[in-house]
């Protein structure tokens, strides 16, 4: 019962493994199956939401904290599957494999948020990463330029380097504490008396997850992978790994050796601000919408770091709130992109011309997502930004807060460019390239819009929930 969701997702993976062996499965059948598996996964996560316990010699911890993240993962995954309903950019001969790796990736991420032990943490991270390394190049080659290969190589190389850093850090922590169990290491560090290398080791471990979250300076893969990967893969890369990364980052904050708070705060502040400025300034000149969203993701990762640099449970809870809001808005944007790219092509801003006339509902979903990402009230993005900034200023980081809000002002321009293309420019030539969304996509989009608004205007319960589960960690 404790690992019901993990078993379900693993079962799904086996199902697609079998299907890939036969090699004759109907693509339509596969997609329906995937959707059903996603639904079952979500249901099982909800059933297991109250589960609590340690498994496998305490290396696997099922806690309220991990279960909350699993709900987020499974919910986001469901939307990823809905967005990938057509799967136009994956060749039909490898669609079973595509789903196999997709489910294995989710399996890895689910293990990750429950991992209570460094070895398992590493294995889970690699499982999810390798699935992605394979998913990215699976895009159907359409123009012979093979950008997906370039993207996957970049992703792989940067990923391996980040993992190398992480392993190096883990080895130090093991040497210092003689244990690979997360609680044991946290206890040993909190007792004090650790040499400064403990801090270095922690920062090295964090690198592995900064890579997943796309924080500067581990962001180089983002634009190319978003652009090179299929739309349906990009929506996955942009959402689920980031949720898991935040989950682990918050847990690793317990490893902070006492006495180094000032340095860590300074480091996080610098990384956060550089991420924001870099992401936002680069996004200003983008033409490819996925690339633009990639850069905006780097900027948003900076905001999540702001929540972490408060070094307090309230701040961590707000980081959770922020990532949930971010994922909702990102899903909304990518959902529209997937629905509009009839042939699985990358969309440029100009391709959205006339969207609001031809597909008013899609345009509305996209606009909600973009205004949310820009941090305009009453959407979830504003509330997340506002709460994180309040907590940061509460800790006395006035300069950081001022620079962060200046970033909001920069960011609005590129989000508006997309909205403008969808709402104000009329172009009849783009008419043919705009397929109607399926009923399921429309429904999913409307659910996302409602969620973005409701999460934005009624955050009280969610923050309490997030803070409580974070406190249950300690």
């Amino acid at each position: 019962m404790l690992i019901l969701p993990e078993l379900v997702v693993l079962g799904g993976a086996f199902l697609f493994f079998t299907a890939s062996l036969t090699g004759k499965a109907q693509p339509q059948l596969l997609r329906t199956l995937a959707l059903l598996c996603g639904l079952t996964l979500f249901a099982s996560v909800c059933i297991a939401s109250q589960a609590n316990g340690l498994l496998f010699f305490a290396s696997y911890a099922v806690t309220p904290y991990s279960q909350l993240f699993k709900i987020l993962l499974a919910g986001a995954f469901l939307f990823v599957l809905i967005a990938g309903q057509k799967l136009t950019s994956i060749h039909s001969s490898v669609q079973a494999e595509y789903y196999l790796f997709l489910f294995l990736g989710v399996f890895g991420l689910m293990l990750l948020v429950s991992a209570n032990e460094f070895i398992l943490l590493f294995v889970a991270l690699e499982l999810s990463s390798f699935a992605l390394y394979l998913l990215v190049p699976m895009r159907d080659d359409r123009d012979g330029l093979r950008p997906q290969m370039e993207a996957s190589i970049k992703y792989l190389l940067f990923g391996v380097i980040a993992t190398g850093f992480m392993l190096f850090g883990m080895s130090y922590l093991f040497a210092l504490t003689g244990s690979t169990s997360l609680p044991a290491i946290a206890d040993a560090i909190q007792q004090g008396g650790m040499p400064p290398v403990a801090l270095v080791a922690l920062l090295l471990v964090l690198c592995g997850f900064f890579f997943k979250l796309a924080v500067f300076p581990f962001h180089f893969w983002v634009p190319d992978v978003y652009q090179g990967a299929a739309n349906e893969t990009a929506i996955f890369v942009a959402t689920l790994p980031k949720i898991a990364a935040v989950a682990i980052l918050i847990r690793l904050m317990q490893f902070l050796p006492p006495g180094h708070e000032q340095f860590v705060v300074l480091l996080f502040a610098v990384l956060a601000l550089v991420s924001m400025f870099y992401g936002n300034l680069c996004a200003l000149v983008q033409d490819d919408i996925k690339r633009l969203l990639g850069f905006s993701g780097i900027a948003h990762a900076g905001f999540i770091l702001l929540g972490l640099l408060t070094l307090q449970e309230e701040g961590y809870g707000l980081a959770m709130y922020y990532i949930s809001a971010y994922v909702l808005m990102n899903l909304a944007c990518f959902l529209v992109l997937c629905a509009l790219a009839g042939k699985g092509q990358n969309l440029r801003i100009a391709d959205l011309h006339g969207l609001s006339k031809r597909q008013p509902i899609l345009a509305f979903i996209l606009a909600t997502g973009l205004f949310g990402l820009a941090g305009i009230p009453p959407f979830a993005g504003f509330m997340g930004k506002f709460l994180v900034l309040t907590e940061t200023l509460n800790k006395g980081h006035l300069l950081v807060v001022v620079l962060a809000v200046i970033n909001t002002a920069i960011a609005i321009y590129y989000y508006l460019l997309v909205v403008r293309a969808a709402y104000t420019v009329d172009d009849d030539s783009a008419a043919a390239a705009m397929p109607s969304p399926s009923l399921l996509t429309t429904a999913a989009g409307i659910i996302l819009v409602l969620a973005i608004i409701l999460v934005g205007i009624l955050p009280a319960k969610l923050i309490t929930l997030a803070t409580t589960v974070v406190q249950s960690l300690g």
Binding site: P360, F382, F386, L393, V405, I412, R420, Y423
Partner: protein, 503 residues
């Protein structure tokens, strides 16, 4: 919370915010025919206007607390509440908003032919947000309304605007948003000082001088862009010119007032020291705006641009009145806010009516309309008289009070503002002369139809208020007097307190 007079009867203020939102939701769900959207929006906005009447009649003009208040807990972790209420400063602005809205709907009746439902949704959402800004007593609630408004206004300009709508709408959005991001920081800083977002609880506190200055500057940037004060006005002509008639009217009549409302509501009571310290440069900026707006308006060939620049001048009078810190000044500023909303709104409506007929905003294309459009000529003449503060019209009272207050403060400031009043007469009469008579090379205007009944109905209520305020302003002053007196009393006490500590 003794600053609140909790209302246990019908929650009128919640109705005012909620009704348009509900209407917008209905339109979104039943994405119906254009006619349905028009009628529904008209009914909703009219109902809202009627809902203002119990507010106006039930308002107790003798007390200075916030009335018709409602308070619900919202985000307890950060002590954020949904709390609304009106006082003498806000009630007239709320009434102005609900008065203008149905007129905007009527003015767009035939003007907007494309995507009517979406247009009406934007209008309704705008109404909610605008009323919300004036009645919010929680800073977060205020900020949410303040920023949220940008989206429907952006769409109004960007979708239904003129040829340069893309440029104008993005400029409007970025200018206002960039101005208000630091406002958010100031709000958070004030919360951390006070432990609450409740606006009245933030007023008249001993903040440090440096803190006050920083908060004031953040406020100033946000509000000065919204007003807009010279030199932050460049978004205004672009946005005004490109916006559809209803958008221009909303911008001029309501949105600009939010800046001056912000000065009155927040700057004076929350950062009194900084306000007094920086009053002199602000006064001179106001003068600069008055003169600059007047001269620029004089040179315009585009009627909408002309009115837009005249707005810069008129709003200069409002900020002038606020920062002289005496009763006449404040009364004049408040009254001038209402007057500008009525008169400039009406002038934009008039220009929109010409535009609907000949699809041009050029003054040269609208010359010599007088013989063909007698009704229109009458209306535009009366509103123009009001715009340059002709005695007997509303603006005369407002400008007179502002100038009287300024004379009492510093006579040479008032002398410097007088040319602005003369300039107003010059540019308004120039426009009026051309529209009604023109010259020898008038275009053929015989095809221009006079106003329809619908258009007369749009302009008539505004004309009524032009003369009502112009001839009998006392009822309006009675609404605002207690609050303004209280504000001044506290400001003077504060000043004396500061002097005592200095001695």
């Amino acid at each position: 919370m003794n600053q609140l007079l909790i209302n246990n009867g019908i929650p009128w203020l919640n109705v005012l915010v909620g009704l348009p939102l509900a209407g917008a939701l209905v339109l979104l769900v039943f994405f119906g025919k254009a006619t349905f959207a028009r009628w529904l929006t008209l009914v909703v906005t009219l109902a809202n206007a009627l809902c203002t009447l119990p507010l106006l009649s039930g308002f107790d003009g003798k007390i200075t607390t916030f009335q018709f208040a409602h308070l619900y807990t919202w985000i307890p972790q950060l002590h954020i509440n949904y709390v609304v209420g009106v006082d003498g400063i806000s009630i007239l602005l709320v009434a102005l908003t609900t008065l203008i809205m149905p007129l905007c709907v009527l003015a767009s009746w035939t003007y907007i032919q494309q995507r009517v439902t979406a247009f009406m949704v934007c209008l309704l959402v705008m109404e909610s947000a605008m009323i919300g800004v004036f009645i919010a007593l929680d800073f977060v609630l205020f900020y949410i309304f303040w920023e949220f408004m940008l989206i429907p206004m952006y769409l109004l300009i960007a979708i239904w605007g003129g040829p340069r709508k893309s440029y104008a709408s993005i400029k409007f959005f970025i200018y206002t948003l960039a101005g208000s991001v630091l406002l958010l920081v100031a709000i958070i800083a004030l919360y951390l000082e006070n432990g609450t977002f409740f606006i009245p609880a933030m007023m008249w506190h001993e903040y440090g001088q440096g803190f006050q200055l920083l908060v004031f500057l953040a406020f100033f940037l946000a509000f000065a862009i919204k007003v807009p004060m010279f030199p932050f006005h460049t978004w205004l002509p672009a946005a005004h010119v490109e916006a559809p008639t209803a958008g221009s009217v909303l911008l001029a009549s309501i949105l600009l007032k939010m800046g001056t409302y912000g000065f009155l509501r927040f700057c004076l009571p929350i950062t009194p020291d900084a306000s007094m310290l920086l009053a002199t440069p602000l006064l001179w900026l106001s003068i600069a705006g008055i003169i600059y707006g007047g001269f620029t308006a004089l040179a315009q060939q585009d009627m909408k641009k002309l009115i837009a620049y005249s707005s810069v001048g008129h709003m200069g009078f409002v900020t002038l009145g606020i920062f002289v810190f005496n009763l006449q000044g404040l009364q004049g500023a408040m009254l001038q806010m209402i007057n500008h909303g009525i008169t400039t709104g009406a002038l934009f409506l008039c220009i929109g009516m010409i535009y609907e007929r000949n699809h041009s905003r050029e003054l040269a294309h609208a010359t010599g309309l007088g013989p063909h459009m007698p009704w229109f000529a009458t209306f535009v003449t009366l509103f123009s008289l009001s715009a340059f503060a002709f005695p007997g019209t509303n603006s005369f009272i407002g400008e007179f009070l502002v100038l009287a207050g300024t004379f009492a403060h510093k006579p040479f400031l008032a002398l410097a503002a007088i040319p602005g009043a003369v300039l107003a007469a010059a540019y308004m009469l120039r426009m009026l002369q051309k529209i009604i008579w023109g010259g020898v090379n008038n275009p053929d205007q015989s095809g221009m139809k006079d106003l329809y009944l619908r258009e007369i109905l749009v302009l008539a209520p505004l004309l009524l208020f032009v003369f009502w305020i112009g001839l009998g302003p006392q009822p309006f002053l009675d609404y605002m007097n207690p609050t303004l007196n209280e504000l001044l009393r506290q400001l003077h006490e504060w000043q004396q307190g500061q002097q005592l500590t200095l001695n």
